[in-house]
């Protein structure tokens, strides 16, 4: 299909769809006037019913926990797909330590960068832990905190170089974090069933409102998500960096023709 035909098709589709889109936008409630009844009810009931202050965490880990379980496995599937596609070509061997593509220069880092990373790295990790732990109290949770923790590990790479980063980060640990986090979340759904409760019913003591230990089972699920996101995002970065290591074959024929 030539680009011109494609543009024409796109314009045609836009012409057909635009009246419908305009109709829908005109039918939406005016911006800022009201919110959906479901969200309104959650805001009204949940602080008392679940003893949590953060409604977003309450929805993600309790009220709509089943949806988050599905999303957790989407995350797992996307990361597994990435790892399989990258490793499938490269093979499993020699993934234990850092290697370098021959001929690629190693640029030395300035001392200022190393110092800044050594200061900022632990602080970032600490902040990530804070965000993870305060999921039910303040804006935070496993998803956001997990990404902050993963970026904390990236500061190790920035400061210590690739070899130092690979000494600190082991691929198998990341696999365990990623899979273990998803497993923990799934167990949070299944274990309440052993006691006769419903799937993912909040059977743990709910704790006190505005306290770190509030929300019961949500804290465990939140921990599972944090582990999975930290492991998953670090794993993604590791696998992309591994693309730059020396291939088992001497040279890639496909790259010459580029």
């Amino acid at each position: 299909m030539s680009p011109r035909v494609r543009i024409a098709l796109l314009a045609l589709a836009a012409l057909v769809l635009l009246p419908g889109a305009a109709e829908v936008i005109a039918g939406l409630p005016p911006f800022g006037s009201t919110i959906a009844q479901y969200g309104e009810r959650i805001n009204a009931i949940t602080p008392e019913a679940r003893h949590v202050a953060n409604m977003v965490s309450a929805i993600n880990f309790d009220l709509r926990g089943l949806d988050t379980l599905g999303e957790e496995f989407m995350l797992l599937a996307a990361i597994t797909g990435t790892v399989v596609l990258l490793r499938g070509r490269r093979g499993e061997g020699n993934t234990g330590h850092a290697m370098r593509r021959p001929g690629r220069a190693v640029i030395p880092r300035s001392e200022a960068v190393i110092l800044a990373c050594r200061i900022a790295g632990p602080l970032t990790a600490l902040f990530g832990l804070y965000v993870v732990l305060h999921a039910t109290v303040t804006p935070g949770g496993g998803f956001q905190g997990g990404v902050i923790l993963a970026s904390g590990t990236l500061l190790i790479y920035l400061g210590e170089g690739y070899a130092g980063w690979r000494q600190a980060i082991h691929s198998h640990w990341l696999d365990a974090l990623e899979g273990g986090g998803a497993l923990l979340f799934a167990l949070c759904g299944l274990v309440p069933m052993l006691t006769g409760a419903a799937f993912m019913q909040n059977i743990l003591p709910l704790g006190t409102f505005r306290d770190l230990f509030s929300g019961g089972l949500m804290l465990v699920e939140n921990l599972g998500v944090a582990l999975a996101v930290t492991g998953g995002f670090t794993q993604l970065f590791l696998e992309f960096m591994e693309e730059t290591r020396a291939a088992d074959e001497a040279e890639e024929p496909g790259e010459e023709s580029a």
Binding site: I25, F31, G32, A36, I42, P47, P139, P253, E255
Partner: protein
């Protein structure tokens, strides 16, 4: 002005779709998909907003204070996380397409041949691919 956020969402989606349709580079295409996706963030947050509402976190404000819709915020949160991992997956597919076809242009994407899919025989099949393309 009350339709402005929805119009912004529609415009973002449309311009991302235009970029996808006219893209000549897979990385550019993945970026355009990200623009399309950000339209969903604007739409969801716009739907859940209320003038004067606080964030749906009742720590500093007592429960019962008018707040914005927490469902939309939870949706956007999961949207962002899944979007980030899917972007990584698409970029890996881009790497694979470049390794097999030697090009990032979607126009030059050719069907994969049988025999090039197994891990072992890849090197050999790739060489034969190159011979075919040069002849």
């Amino acid at each position: 002005m009350s339709v402005l956020p929805y119009a912004v969402a529609a415009w973002l989606f449309g311009i991302g779709l235009y970029g996808i349709a006219t893209s000549r580079n897979f990385i550019h295409l993945v970026g355009c998909l990200g623009v399309c996706q950000s339209a969903t963030y604007v739409l969801l947050l716009g739907l859940g907003y209320r003038w004067g509402g606080i964030a749906p976190i009742f720590y500093d404000h007592p429960p019962g204070t008018p707040a914005v819709d927490p469902v939309m915020q939870a949706l956007v949160l999961t949207d962002i996380v899944v979007g980030a991992t899917l972007t990584a997956l698409l970029l890996v597919l881009t790497i694979q397409a470049h390794k097999r076809g030697g090009s990032l242009d979607p126009e030059k994407l050719r069907p994969m041949r049988a025999g090039g899919t197994s891990g072992r025989g890849q090197g050999a099949s790739r060489v034969s691919d190159r011979e075919q393309s040069t002849s």
